[in-house]
Symmetry: C3
Subunit: 474 residues, 3 copies
């Protein structure tokens, strides 16, 4: 990738954007939301595995592009739920390289190319011709200590890395990292999903795991909440500053204790229906808000995604192989019960994410521009892209105001793509500020402070780590 990549084509804007970008180049990466496996760091001798294990199989962005263009999942080494597939990683890599044109102009293409170049010094374009040589280089490097997870963590200049962990999880790897003498800031995030969506397969097992890991007998809603609160304490002791939750809709509704307990009891007996499940989620959003107002953990909420849309593929391969599709979503009415109770609470912080960009100017920016408790998360998933970031900055900032946003997070499973993703954000932030500066909407002082905020200041404050640095200055 070219060193001036992604900067505005206009020479004046490019000059300003480069200046702003370079002024921020020593700011460490702050990654408060993502899906990197903590096991990579708990063992000093861990390695990333082969190129396919690193770049293809775990990356549902890559998988979906190949699958949607007619390449069967089995050919990519993806196992079905019932049978683990045998695969030749070199052959999968060749298939991938032979189809690399499918990634033209996509963020996946950009991240892959940037990672290969900046992390592994591979400058050749992936293609049928370069498949073999790039595979060999990667295999060699990935086995060496220079490319171990811990070495790359240090090389990447990461100030903070948050993982995402089930509330039921024992956090063994996080405990091991903290007990080690490798002093890096890797923290868990408290994720509710598997414990709250009780129609998901495996819910009852998760409840049992929660009970065991919280030393709580979960027999009703009260003890369920108690178990969650104990686990929140455990997570906080390991550094967690935020929770996370995802749902199909943003509906919130306060049920009476009697109502919610009755639903929960039915769930324990496996006797709930879709309506019970939806109302329980709506109520739990208020419980999460209450707990956050009490213990100060920032509450993250991602709404508007239909999970496992491709039913036959889900039945064969399981979740997370690319069949999650966004839905139109409504926030203005749906959040009233929650915001009525906690929207003005001084100790509460709710970070909202959306995949429905029509809500940026219509609902989210006006809401965040009014309620003290709200922050808007960065463009997420399908919208974490060159144009997605530009639309976000242009549509959100004027109305919400920069200071009601939460900076960037990479949301990635791919550890090696972290620098590439933050870099793309920073370059687009620099382009946005350059446009404002060139049009005299802001001045130099504004631009530099805003650049700093976009790189790290906003995220530190949103995720309650502002103490590290005072807020509004570089």
């Amino acid at each position: 990738m070219h060193p001036e990549r992604f900067f505005s084509p206009d020479p004046n804007l490019r000059l300003i954007a480069k200046r702003l970008y370079h002024s921020a180049k020593n700011i460490p990466i702050f990654a408060p939301h993502g899906h990197v496996d903590p096991a990579l760091f708990s063992d000093p001798n861990a390695r990333f595995g082969n190129p396919v294990d690193l770049f293809i199989r775990p990356d549902h962005y890559v998988i979906r592009t190949l699958y949607s263009n007619g390449i069967p999942l089995q050919k990519l080494g993806i196992s079905t739920k019932d049978n683990s597939v045998e695969y030749d990683p070199r052959k999968v890599w060749e298939l991938f390289c032979d189809n690399f044109h499918l990634f033209r102009a996509t963020p996946s293409g950009v991240w892959l190319t940037t990672s290969l170049r900046d992390v592994f010094d591979i400058k050749k374009k992936l293609s049928k011709q370069t498949a073999g040589s790039t595979y060999d280089i990667l295999v060699e490097k990935l086995s060496s200590i220079e490319f171990s997870p811990r070495t790359l963590f240090e090389k990447f200049n990461i100030e903070l890395l948050a993982t995402t962990d089930s509330a039921a999880d024992f956090l063994a790897h996080h405990q091991k990292i903290q007990a080690s003498n490798w002093k890096r800031n890797i923290i868990p995030t408290f994720r509710f999903d598997t414990l709250v969506h009780f129609l998901n397969p495996g819910w009852i097992e998760e409840i049992k795991r929660l009970a065991a890991n919280s030393n709580t007998e979960i027999s009703n809603f009260h003890t369920f909440i108690q178990a969650l609160e104990r686990r929140r304490d455990d997570f906080r002791r390991l550094g967690a500053t935020a929770t996370d939750f995802s749902a199909e809709s943003a509906l919130t509704e306060e049920l009476s204790h009697q109502q919610v307990d009755a639903i929960f009891q039915r769930a324990l007996k496996g006797q709930v229906d879709q309506q019970d499940a939806s109302r329980f989620v709506a109520h739990m959003l208020l419980e999460m808000a209450r707990m956050s107002a009490e213990d100060g953990m920032a509450m993250q909420f991602h709404a508007g995604i239909y999970r496992n849309h491709n039913i036959s593929l889900y039945q064969e391969f399981g979740a997370d192989i690319g069949g999650d599709i966004p839905l139109a979503i409504e926030f203005t009415r749906s959040l009233i019960p929650l915001l009525q109770k906690f929207g003005n609470h001084p100790n509460f912080k709710l970070i909202l994410f959306t995949l429905d960009e029509s809500t940026y100017t219509r609902e989210l920016a006006p809401l965040a521009g009014h309620y003290p408790a709200l922050r808007l998360g960065p463009p997420w998933w399908f919208n974490d892209s060159l144009n997605g970031i530009e639309r976000y900055l242009n549509q959100v900032m004027e109305s919400a105001g920069l200071y009601k946003t939460a900076g960037f997070n990479d949301d990635t499973r791919g550890f090696c793509s972290i620098p590439a993703r933050h870099d793309l954000w920073r370059r687009q932030a620099a382009n946005w500020l350059a446009g404002l500066l060139a049009r005299h909407v802001i001045d130099e002082e504004d631009a530099h402070q805003m650049m700093y905020e976009l790189c790290i200041g906003l995220a530190r404050r949103a995720y309650n780590m502002e103490s590290k640095q005072n807020g509004n200055a570089e």
Copy 2:
């Protein structure tokens, strides 16, 4: 603010835009929709008050930015409904200046900075350091005749200023202005809201005020309509050429006289529910259209806003402190009953506004591009901004056609921000036209005529003041 502010950063586009902008610089301001208090002009000795009264307390754009960043309303001198708050305006001004970074890249920041510079010759950036000196300058200027409302009105080169007034209002200030020998064009606008939304507190008092000011005993729907029609005549005698109405949805529905009368009678007895209220609004939209088709007043309709969203804040402080949040809205089906009856009527004009930008290309531009009676109002409220105007021009014009739009209106409570707001619109209009000219979509003649239309021609015709100037020429 820089004299080349807001123009495109591209040197060629900037040159063209500047040329178009300067060719329009003597065109007077035409402000057919806003919320300036007519009392400012009825008394020749009126003054704007202190800087906080002028720039902060009445401006809900400013208030929401400060409040959403954690500053309590009381600290801004905002009174609760029950207790008028004492405040030290200098202290509020200092607090505001100390937080002025919150307005970076927002339209409020742009308007404030432009107004301070262009009206009050204050070129320093607001900050903790400049709070004291800027306060002193403002206090001094605001007390002098050179900065009185009437003097500024003349200085601003305003051809027309329309206020917004309850249909029940006696219009004492407008009468006084017209009776005076200060010959400026300040006219009222006939607003239905407080008389039609009968679940709002104070509805019955408004009905009594309507009855009194129209000399009509309002005992049923028939006499209610009669009273409104009499008041429309009164408004028109004072120069009004338009009505205004706001609702949550755009639903229209024609009820039988019997149905609507029954609802209205229940309302008089305080026995209506939400469904009655909604159906009454849906029917009243047809009544408004009928009256406009008869008397020729342009009908303005703003839909898709949830009022007083922050319930506890509303209960403590009352309406209009920033808790109004947009909703997704549907026009295509909702307007059928109204458009079926009046959409092709040669004497009817309906000006539609939206806060849901997804309706621009999907519904509003196609509707306005078909029905002779429709015009599209400019980007409004949250979308009256640098990017909001750009999106509007790019999304509406190709499909509706320029000549089905209504020019600009500032919709402001802040009289001193009027030149800044119209100036932003004109600069963005010039940028848009420069882009079309540079890409050879239009030629010089087109560009100049379109610039004139965007500045004043379209608005004059939409608001029935086309007689002042012939339509399609400079």
Copy 3:
């Protein structure tokens, strides 16, 4: 029109865009979806008629702009359903030219101006002054063999032209073309609408026509499907490679044979209601998919349009005079039944179109970026414009990937506008690629191959004519 029209105003981008555009200038026009009348080509002596017949009366884009600005349809020579109107084409042309400013910055204005210049060598801007002379030139040229449909077809360098034809149609003109010694590739498209929407007036006559032309007695759902399948065979024998269908919503639902047969039987008796009609459409979408999976015809589906919105105009003048208005639409949930059954089918291809741009990033690009069977059609109707194309490319490509789109189609009734429309698409495609190249997102090789794909490669593959050329190379 200027030879550099529509290219980016930035000099660097313009240079790159021109280079890419010119590299593609010999690529023939591939027009797989449109509404040109095949009768123009079945008779070697056919002519286009007078300028009003060619440019105004059949073009509902032009009609709506004039009508929405207050010009009665009768004055444009449009006949009511009951009475054919007499009109003086010269007077209509003069009225049109006198109002040509209404088309400023609209795609219709662009297409008209380009067609007049490039096809008829008319360089003067249309206006009151030039109405007479342009009319005379057009009348003279339109009567000559040099401007006959067949001559222009050859001059336009058209590789393929698909018309749109009712499934019930006998295709007499297509048969005549194929039987002639004029060897050009003009093919029909199998359109279901008039046979599936059984509440439309004339449905039963269409069923009778279908029965006659398929030699099938249609007495129940089974024979209805049989008749359609026979007609699909007939269409395919005449070269058809695709079907087409339009509906208000995207809802799909599989009914039992018993259910759907009962509805169909009621329809034959004229005893169906709106709910029957909607469920029938929802089921028929699955039938269409099944047939396409079997016979390999690409299935096109346009959803989200409210037909004949202006009821009184429709009653007086009939369909297609501009009263069709888009609706908000939902794809994610609605398409589940269809995609569950056919979304992963290797022989099925569904090309989706939308007028609701909010679905681009939210639903359509994610769906197409996952399901192998899906392709996204180009920006359509109101969105086939300079900005509409730009939004499409910026919002769809990153997430769906270029290779899941279907290239361009002009969807036009106006044969002479075909080169103008494809030219606009190509120039905007070149601008888009230039932006990516200048920001180093893609390289030269990528850009040239993507340009070729956008001009013809994607469309050939989407419409099953890939055999003509191998897919991914120029």
